[in-house]
Symmetry: C2
Subunit: 449 residues, 2 copies
């Protein structure tokens, strides 16, 4: 993984994809991504070099297919798994991760907060072949709380040790809430929001800042964070701890202040040869989704944008995979690169296996709908194949092309149609059959019904 | 229902809402709609007079709450029910209609094509209190087919008799495929599309035109159609028989040619004192949804736009309620007034009760997301209430505000959380709890975990 680069007599050690790309070196990962995306390698290297594309891969990680995220590439989707204090079963979490990958999740984030957090992460990382992300502050806070009595008693060392431990395990990208600073907490205290914060990691930091009266250590020691990220080439995912938690609070000064802080840190990460992506909202009214994407892209100079939803209404608990698919599709169309799925259990409880599947499929629909806009025929050729299977009334081919072939087949065969090759919606009055016959035979001899 | 208007010695009979509004007469229906929508009555009358708002109500219809559709009003949603040749159970169709209304459908369309079509329509109309729509050409074609041997053997009389029969039964709005003309059929024969047509009613007309070599009678005798519509004040819903049936065929010359024809007929309907709305696609890539709405609104001088979906990818059979919610939400945001739901069974078979429920809820999410953009606080105040219930961790209030209270409760109570008032996602690490405590007590004495 490490590459030595000789420069006028001195030796430079290059570990990160951005460092390699800047030297014009095509890593095996970059070559693989260019192939997978059917994308010109030279152009890809330029995008990686400029920070507009990242390849999420920890140098310690084994058994993973490198994944490119960013401008010009297919929109990726992430599925969260992870235990909680109320429900902790290591095999169940692994099963959820596997289901997510089966239905098309490009990455998995393990957000465990209950049980043996190390064991879950290590088991998942060993048994899936897609990039894994984590939020190390969860473990730092929870373990500090257990050891010292309260979350806010964790110290700087606890935070960085957790990050280093995850890096050693091969975690490919990590959320760090570096935008939650004294400045944003000061704004928070003014309380113009209905819901001050909804980010778990974000509140750990905010409570810590309020309690200790000190700056967020991940922010004040960002250079050390960069050093770790450079060593392992894990991608920094700059978390939006101040993301709005409801439609009312969307696109407010808190959110924008955090984004400004993040945009500065994006620049510092790039200067430091570290790969970085930016996380975004959250709860956003539909007419502000596009603006949010375009502002992030402008402020953060094209850094890959990883959005959580966005959810376009607060009224649909139990159906937030749909609410999130609406926001995610628009975000993808407008340039977001990476969608975090939302399951039907969002706001209500821990998702089960079925929720994970529904969340992934809703997110895939959103990503693909966006890709039709972003990538044109490179994405829509599959829709065209489906259209040809439909006019040919070729059911097997239709199942095969579906995001969920089993469900498509189940629905079609639920009630048997009398007419061969038809479906129970229209039976003999199938529009496609009638028009094909009419166009093929203007005398329409066969059109008896 | 009938109003006599005295004009310089002569007597005019006014039956339609548009005629009344033009005279500045506020019908009881208009007064009710203004109240329901919290909308100024004088402004509403102007919108009705100009054809930008319709009130779907047949003068023969009893037991129905008048419904306004169009500019400035809440986005409405329609749920289709109806038998097919393969599945016909009159009580089952009524149950589907009732479920749809329970979950928020503003109108029902009965698209029955199997069994006793008259009986189904009459039973549904008697037992629901929302406007009912139909597509009379289905019945005309099917019954002519049975009687005469082929669908294309129906004559002009069959078509108009079906319309009159539906009008007599009190049907509030009817789809008429008046844009399927010889001109469009000529274009169709060139076959640039992957799927020539997907509209059932549209193909009945197209096959009829090809077979008989004559113009669509509903088009050539549009004045007689207007006469019927005026007599009963049913709203004409100008069907898009040439709507694209896949992403590939979207926004093509066929679709635009039909829209041009429709735009002329909108003007004639308005001149004739008839209420009219326009149907739209269909399958549309996400980046063309907004353009489709804006072009319709411009060409048809603000006529209410009733979209079928739109579906933003063809790859998700079994999940087309989600695909349709994405397109529908964007369409609503851009100005569409009326969304036809899509169920998970779309493209696969006749929907069952559960599909109807899922379709309605997905469509409600889309409509409400669009309304937040279109109507601002008039729509989003409910989201704000939900946000307040969330930060108060008031679960009962959250259920109550949900589009599907039972499902929200079910999800939340599926696994019991140890921590009181928390959920199993975060348990004691609830972001909202932590930040509320931190902000309320900077010493954070209580933050022990």
């Amino acid at each position: 993984m490490y590459t030595l680069f000789l420069k006028e007599g001195s030796v430079e050690i290059l570990t990160t994809q951005i460092q390699l790309a800047r030297k014009g070196i095509a890593s095996s990962e970059a070559i693989q991504v260019a192939k997978d995306e059917d994308f010109p390698l030279d152009k890809l290297l330029k995008l990686i070099a400029s920070g507009r594309v990242v390849i999420t891969r920890n140098v310690k990680r084994e058994n993973v297919r490198p994944l490119g995220i960013g401008e010009g590439l297919r929109t990726k989707i992430n599925a969260n798994i992870g235990s909680s204090a109320d429900f902790c079963d290591i095999d169940y979490e692994l099963r959820k991760a596997k289901i997510a990958v089966e239905y098309g999740a490009d990455t998995i984030m393990d957000l465990s907060t209950g049980g043996d957090i190390d064991a879950i992460r290590r088991k998942v990382i060993k048994n899936i072949n897609v990039p894994l992300g984590t939020v190390p502050i969860y473990q730092a806070a929870i373990e500090a709380g257990k050891r010292k009595g309260a979350i806010v008693d964790m110290d700087e060392d606890d935070m960085f040790k957790a990050i280093e431990k995850h890096a050693e395990d091969g975690v490919d990208f990590m959320t760090v809430h570096v935008g939650v600073t004294k400045k944003t907490v000061d704004l928070l205290v003014k309380r113009k929001r209905i819901i001050p914060m909804v980010s778990r990691g974000g509140t750990f930091h905010a409570a810590w800042i309020i309690h200790n009266g000190q700056e967020n250590p991940l922010y004040s020691n960002f250079d050390y964070l960069l050093e770790l990220a450079r060593k392992y080439d894990f991608t920094l995912s700059l978390g939006d701890g101040l993301r709005p938690g409801c439609i009312h609070d969307a696109s407010d000064e808190l959110q924008m202040q955090e984004l400004l802080t993040i945009s500065e840190l994006v620049e510092r990460a790039r200067e430091g040869g570290v790969q970085v992506i930016v996380e975004g909202p959250g709860h956003i009214p539909i007419h502000q989704v596009g603006a949010n994407v375009r502002i992030q892209k402008a402020l953060c100079k094209g850094a890959p944008f990883y959005v959580l939803g966005p959810l376009v209404t607060d009224l649909a608990p139990g159906y937030d995979h749909i609410t999130g698919a609406i926001g995610g599709a628009i975000a993808a169309m407008e340039g977001a690169d990476f969608l975090c799925y939302v399951t039907p259990a969002e706001h209500l409880g821990l998702p089960n296996e079925d929720d994970v599947k529904l969340g992934v499929i809703a997110s895939k629909i959103a990503a693909h709908a966006g890709d039709i806009a972003k990538l044109g025929e490179k994405a829509s050729y599959r829709d065209d194949e489906m259209a040809r299977a439909r006019i040919a009334i070729d059911w097997e081919k239709q199942y095969e092309l579906s995001l969920d072939p089993r469900r498509a087949q189940l629905y079609h065969e639920r009630v048997k149609a009398k007419e061969p090759k038809s479906c129970t919606m229209c039976g003999q009055f199938c529009a496609m059959k009638i028009i094909s016959e009419a166009l093929n035979n203007p005398n329409i001899e066969k059109m008896k019904c």
